[in-house]
Symmetry: C3
Amino acid sequence: MANIYVQRLAQIAQAVRAQRPLVHHITNYVTVNDCANIALAMGASPVMADDISEAAEMAGAAQALVLNIGTLNARTVEAMLAAGRRANEKGIPIILDPVGAGATAFRNRTAEKLLEQLKIAVVRGNLSEIKFLRGLGAETRGVDAADQDGVPERIELAKELARTFNCVAAITGATDVASDGEKVLRVDNGCAQLSGVTGTGCMSTTLVAGLCGAARPEDYLLCAAGGVALMGLAGELSLEREGGKGFGHFHMGIIDAIGRMDEKMLLERVKIDEA
Amino acid sequence: MANIYVQRLAQIAQAVRAQRPLVHHITNYVTVNDCANIALAMGASPVMADDISEAAEMAGAAQALVLNIGTLNARTVEAMLAAGRRANEKGIPIILDPVGAGATAFRNRTAEKLLEQLKIAVVRGNLSEIKFLRGLGAETRGVDAADQDGVPERIELAKELARTFNCVAAITGATDVASDGEKVLRVDNGCAQLSGVTGTGCMSTTLVAGLCGAARPEDYLLCAAGGVALMGLAGELSLEREGGKGFGHFHMGIIDAIGRMDEKMLLERVKIDEA
Amino acid sequence: MANIYVQRLAQIAQAVRAQRPLVHHITNYVTVNDCANIALAMGASPVMADDISEAAEMAGAAQALVLNIGTLNARTVEAMLAAGRRANEKGIPIILDPVGAGATAFRNRTAEKLLEQLKIAVVRGNLSEIKFLRGLGAETRGVDAADQDGVPERIELAKELARTFNCVAAITGATDVASDGEKVLRVDNGCAQLSGVTGTGCMSTTLVAGLCGAARPEDYLLCAAGGVALMGLAGELSLEREGGKGFGHFHMGIIDAIGRMDEKMLLERVKIDEA
């Protein structure tokens, strides 16, 4: 029997298919195609526009805004700030993916600037990225996850980051955790193969944004946990069907799975609970 | 028995495989990999170069030029104009994809500028984009199709746009129509699943460009209808083989199908006729 | 029985999985997703950062640097030079992919500038690109391979380029050759279908970089031959499993295959030998 979190998540996922929220992305060019396809597969409507000439206008028409710092440049940082300010004015949730925070001074400054100048609804990152944001001095090596710490440490870290920036913080890894500073949810979906495909983090962020785009602010914590749970479940489902073939097919199977998810499947297989 | 339009299209599609026209793209970074792969699958040779330092030179060496405004910025708009002017000088057909026209003032200005300053061979867009270009004040929501109007309205719209800009206009949707201002062709291939994968519009535009690159100007109307017909047929074929698996496999199946198409298949399954 | 080249390659490929070298890419936006996924599939760790604000810092943290000129602009050329200088200072191997060299003056100037101002470890290109770099006046048509010359000519060309720039030069085509100016290796893996998918050249370059990132300078010649051999073998393996389906599935099958490769498979199937 699914708990109230899973039940509510299934409702929001249905609302995404009914409402088709427009999710504006300013994101990296490495995984952008996957983000667009995962948004469509969940029933949302993706749009990408990264120039200062139109970023704010597009953000103002959207139901959620993704800011992903995977392949930054000076031009797109300005567009992120402009789009973010417009989103804040209109109460549109901003989902921040601090890809590679900790790896270079430019990424660090940009992540800090976005968190300081904008009201972020959800930050979703891996452990080393979130540690950097929390000022704990983690060393980020490229854009991969450094996954050594345990669940209690992750919970503490998510709570602290959430309090510091008055947002929801989600940390993905073997066990995912999300917190709004008080409450903490943990997610026990996923599989190791997800780290063998680029962009599964970015796609998780898009899933969080799609859910937020069809939900109310009091649901953002659940949306944060829910987006990473959907990605984890997609990995499990893809592994069952495609796993023996290799990472190319596993990648396609993730998008297949998000498109096939219905209420029944979520109620049976999503594992979200209070930590 | 295939009609003369389908017969002639099959000839042009064969000519693409024989001549391998070079199709230069200045296009968005969301769907660019799919555009390159669909061009290869149809037998054309894709190239992408978006900097003002080389865009015109590359366009001058090509047999067709795609201008796609999906992720614009100030730098690439200048490159589009320079490449377009060189293409016009050399009689190389320009295929314009006005992605998201109507959604922001910047896209609107850019689409107008391209249509006014360049001689465009074919414009291919969805209903709301083409409505915007025709000044009918459609509201474009993101980059998705708004698909409420009927076939007679689409035919009228395509004819009007074609006359205004002295080009071929193709409108894709449940039924696709293309017109040169006088003659109108309709296409009855396709399936609903095509809107569940990002870039099927962009890929259609590349297919139109590949066909134009191996054809004469008097065939551009047929190439416009033909490119969208090939994409529609690819959707049907992929659905037959991959549809039960999900959108990831359906996406790959589209590229599979374009690569498998031969004269016999086109003669049997393409549905193009006078409207 | 595998020869000493294949045995040593199998060791280096194992070292990649053990050490997970960070491979920094400044590359085109057409095939970048495939490069990231192929790096992960071979066990390396990809990162992409193309802005002058962070390119050198990221390169300094990497074990190999890919410079790929597929979609250049003025901004990224500066980032390539800055990243390359840092890599040279720290002894990190630079792998250059001169995509489309010969096609435009801008690409030519950039390729020359990179070869003159940086110490390149390996250049990997197709025949027309490498001919251009050697000043033989080949005409490059778009980014495709022009494949008319025979193996003896390729060997001579690779040796000359390697001597001129004091690097390893690898020329891919029906038969691949690599030389450090003295020694020459030839690779007899591959299949014709590889030219039907965009990015197989770029992915080869990433594979070369991953191997170099886990090897010593005296192994770079073998890594150059080895990277193109792995791509060729991936094509053969994908063709065996996916070939009948089409280019979409063949593309995914390439990534599947790289992920499945183990020591036994390499010892049995890689065909590298002295020319």
